[in-house]
Amino acid sequence: MELQPIFIQILSLAIFAVGIVVAISRRNIFFVLMGIELALNAVNLSFVGFAKTLPAELSVAGQIVPLFTIAIAAAEACVGFAMVILIFRNRESVDADTYSNMRG
């Protein structure tokens, strides 16, 4: 059986769901970040999958956008971890639920 585009989308959806569930359900801030990264890469996968449905000369955009996303995700991860480390120094805790003193 050949690899159908819809399978890629299903896989991508599954990974995205796992990422979101991890981000929401885990209390450890590192796992939350990991979940977000997972969801982000699921979207990248979805882009590449859709690109595959197009003829070769038009699929370039679908393959290039994930590259940009990866680059930005790397930058975002840097900033995110830097913030997590600073919060940890202040709080002595990696529990996301204790980070609740941001008042509106």
Binding site: I20, A23, I24, S25, R27, V32, A96, D97, Y99, S100, N101, M102, R103, G104
Partner: protein
Amino acid sequence: MTNIPLWLIPLFPLLGTIILGAIAVTSSGNKKGAPENLVGAIAVILPAFSFACVAALAYTMPVSGLHETICNWIDIPLLKVDIGFQFDALSRIMLLFVTGIGTLITLYSIGYMHGDRGFARFFAYINLFLFSMIVLVLSDNLLLTFLGWEGVGLCSYLLIGFWNKDLANCKAANKAFIVNRVGDIGFLLGMLSLVTLGGAGVLNYDMLNHFINMLLAGGHVELIMPMLFITCMLFFVGCTGKSAQIPLLTWLPDAMAGPTPVSALIHAATMVTSGVYLVARLSNLFVLCPDVLNIILVIGALTAFWAAFAGLYQNDIKKVLAYSTISQLGYMFMAAGASAFDASIFHVFTHAFFKASLFLGAGAVIHALGGEQDMRKMGGLIKKTPVTACVMIFAFLAIVGFPGFAGFWSKDLILERIFTDCTWVITGSWLAPVVPMNKIFYIVGLFTAVVTAVYMGRLIIMTFFGSYRGSKESEAHIHEAPAVMLIPMIVLSFGSIFSGYLWADSIGIHFFADSLAPVLAAAQSVDPARAFNSSILLSEFIPRAVEHVNPVIFAALGTLAALFGMFIAWKGWMHAHIPEAKDSSAPKGYAAGWTFMWDYVHAFFVKGVYVAAWICEKIVDACLQAFQWMLGAIATIVGDGATVFQVRKVRLQLGLSLLGIIALILVVLLTGGLV
């Protein structure tokens, strides 16, 4: 046909400005200042070069004039302006005396400003002024003329406040600048309404004349009459600002705070006449609007009359000359108002000579007396400074219109042309069924000529005759000015004797009129009564047979006026005891009331602006602030309410926002968007 490019003319003074500015900046630190010989040589030679260019071009100029487009300046969809120069009969006359007299006065300034700390700075400003003035008269479109117009205004400001240690000088400079701004708004709006009428192309003078010819050929003048009236009025407001006419004239007497050569060059000979130049340049436009010409005539006559009397009340020698300048400018505008534009330019030309020599003579007197300007402390100087006295007496004979001198030809020409050319007649007034305004204005002009002779005679008598009234120790120091100051004065006094012979109507010389004819003849031959019915004010045009009056009668009446005025002055001040000067030279009592009349009017308007500013600050601003506070309060209240939704759990909030996104996507998917 010479091949001198036109841009060389403004280039020389610009170079001078840059070099002298650099010298002034670099030498500001050291103790001695810049070397005066070097600075003076640069400052004189560069304007002299541009005078040489002008003279060569003037001699070989073709009748149609020279045109030259240097480069593009503004190019946007609605406005395309080039930097272009136009050397025709009108700009030739203006350039000849601007650069010529400019060079002479620069030479004079070397002597007058000797030893001044800001020597290089002064000459940098003078060169910048000459550059701006050349651009003003040489440009071929209104926008570039406006650039020069602003440039001369700036230089006037810089030079009035040249001795900026004294607060009064700075105030006078500010006043000149601000009052001129009011006029400049008129110029700007005039250009704007001209563009509204004919598109951006008509800012070019040739295109403007072409546009006017099209209007006349198509008979469309009546159609755009109200707009045309507004345009001409706005341009005239610009002229009143620059040329010190009622009501924007208060700055010129105060401008005498500057160094005397500046008063001679900027506030007598050249800059203040640029308003007359503008009216002559736009003469084709102005003659379409007889109402505006009548207003110019009235304003000119009022200004000439008022300023002549104000000159009678001054004790400061420079103030007398300042009011006399205003009065002579009034004559020029009277001529322009009677659509005798060539006569007004002729008076600009002769006035430049005799007023420059009067101011330079006054400068030499002030120099001799070590800065004393009060005429009550002068007297008897003819024995001490004979050359200066002769120069000033020649110029005095020219300004009062003594037969044979320059002013005799130009002033009598103006009076004659007012009598013959003015076609304004008021009908059905309470005075008489038909009032011929030309006679009224002729009488006003003649009477003003008498007063001119009186106040100028008073100046000459109080300065040069009688006995010296100053202190004994100052009398010992009186000395004739150095040669570098005397030579320009002598040259200019020759000008004030002989420049009138370029257009001596009574002896049949029309050289000046013929040379101006290519530019101004078309405008002066337009007969408003015949061409179209364009009256929107009270005046009415009745075709009137031109009365033939022998020009000798005008000459005789003018001479009589001058002699009568001189006789009054001789009677009044020659042997009279002049009270000792104990206080400042400012006029007092009714004299002050007359002199500062327009300052009071200005104060009235300034009060109005203060009231408007108060209303803006206290009421409009308060309303706006109340509105702003209200918005802020609403935002605070809404924000306080919104904080209730904060659950302070990071994960829960992430979940909630995901739910929100899902809800949004569902809405979009199910309804195809809320729109």
